[in-house]
Amino acid sequence: MDDLALHIPTDVIDGPTSLGFALLAVLGVGWCTVAARRGLDERLVPLAGLATAFIFAAQMLNFPIAAGVSGHLLGGALAAALLGPWLGALCVTVVIAIQALLFADGAVTALGLNVVNMALIATFTASGVLALALKVLPRTRWGLGAAVFAAAIVSVVAASAGFVLQFWLGGEAVGQSLGAMTAAILGTHVLVGIGEAVITAGAVTAVAVARPDLVHALRGTPLARPATTLKDAA
């Protein structure tokens, strides 16, 4: 359900727009590769490979939402919180490419559109929101959870806004007002984003409690011990 309007098939968006976004995707992913390499040098391949395998597995966790409807994670915010924007965007890009070439999910001509929406826009907005929220919120379990929750919702809505932008640039005018369509797409994706946010926030706090050094968003500092440790003292 999450990818309802996101794995774009053939010719929903016209040729010039698809080509433009493909170029944008190549530039963005190239930049991510350079930046991720600076942080990880020769560890990049094994770590990014395993992180991609993880996002792949996370997307396979289908959870029933209502009768007959099940959703899966987009993973942009999860990748941003755990791996940082550059490595995170790189991993989500690889997942999208695998899905297009090996599973026929999303057209090859729309690869650039899909990468820009789900890998670049989702991951970078999530990172931005996360960095801002962590400045304001306390560095506790709940603070981190709330920050990740907000980042996940914003990232899903931003990714769907990316689709709206592409549709505005190169979709066909179907007679409906663009405003109504925008409201419908953004509205449903707020709901989708809440599902994504619950899972992402839970997963990131679970990692932060066990291995805070692995949560990129915390930048190496562990969480403040919550007040419940009084119980341990007693």
């Binding site: 990818d3 040729g15 395998a53 001509t109």
Partner: protein
């Protein structure tokens, strides 16, 4: 079939023997030709579909398999069916239904092009093993670093997915009854655990590689085989026919 192996169906047809780089270029060319075909040329889409059906027959891929795998696009099919009712414009009467004409065309366009696009991609996925797709992309000068990450991801996705399944089974065995929103907490915590295990495995793999002299590049230079001119011409025949059809119908309208 394991969800990580792609949709490859082992076989020995001419399409299976074709070099992967040729098939990837062919897929992109064919998809572009479909996208460029004007929607009003309804019969042209029938010809495109016949071309693909012939290729599926050559590759010995049963039609039932193709139809089941086409279900990935079903959310968009719903959208295509909704277009005739959503879009405003001059109305036409179809039996008891009154639908909008531009909406009907928009729905048909989406339905035809998305279905043909999925079929073309399925043809590549069915006749090419995962390693072949990667070798083909490498031959097409894709950045080596992305291909290496992809190869690692596919290799270890088996383990990671198995770990997720195992954890779910373990939860069920202990009396968990995953339903609706109540399972979100457990799901999220298992994801956190899987991430820690994946990352730790990545560090171990990297240490093992470093111990064997890895410095950021794989030392082996196994270049995938080049394709002959004959292979290129054979593979591009169908996309070329589709492109000619698209150009001809576009000019005729």
């Amino acid at each position: 079939m394991n969800a990580v192996d792609g949709l490859h169906r082992p076989g020995d047809s001419p399409l299976h023997r074709l070099r992967p780089q040729v098939k990837i270029v062919g897929l992109v060319a064919f998809t572009c030709a479909i996208a460029a075909t004007p929607r009003e040329a309804v019969w042209a889409f029938g010809v495109h579909a016949l071309l693909l059906a012939a290729l599926f027959a050559v590759a010995r891929v049963p039609a039932g398999w193709v139809l089941t795998r086409s279900l990935v696009e079903s959310p968009f099919l719903v959208l295509a069916l909704a277009f005739p009712f959503m879009v405003e414009g001059p109305a036409v009467h179809l039996g008891v239904l009154t639908v909008s004409e531009p909406g009907l065309w928009a729905g048909w366009n989406l339905l035809a092009k998305a279905t043909l696009g999925v079929w073309a991609a399925l043809l590549l996925a069915a006749t090419t093993p995962v390693a072949g797709v990667l070798a083909g992309l490498s031959r097409l000068r894709f950045p080596e670093i992305l291909l290496q990450i992809t190869a690692f991801a596919i290799r270890y996705a088996h383990l990671t997915v198995a770990e997720v399944t195992q954890m779910r089974l373990a939860r069920l065995a202990r009396g968990d009854d995953p339903r609706f929103l109540w399972q979100a907490g457990a799901l999220a915590r298992s994801l956190g655990t899987v991430f820690i295990r994946s990352f730790e495995r990545g560090e171990r793999v990297w240490q093992a590689m470093a111990a064997r002299g890895y410095t950021g590049r794989l030392p082996l230079e196994i270049g995938p085989a080049p394709a002959s001119a004959r292979q290129w011409t054979a593979a591009m025949a169908v996309p070329a026919a589709a492109a000619a059809l698209a150009a001809w119908t576009a000019a005729a309208l």
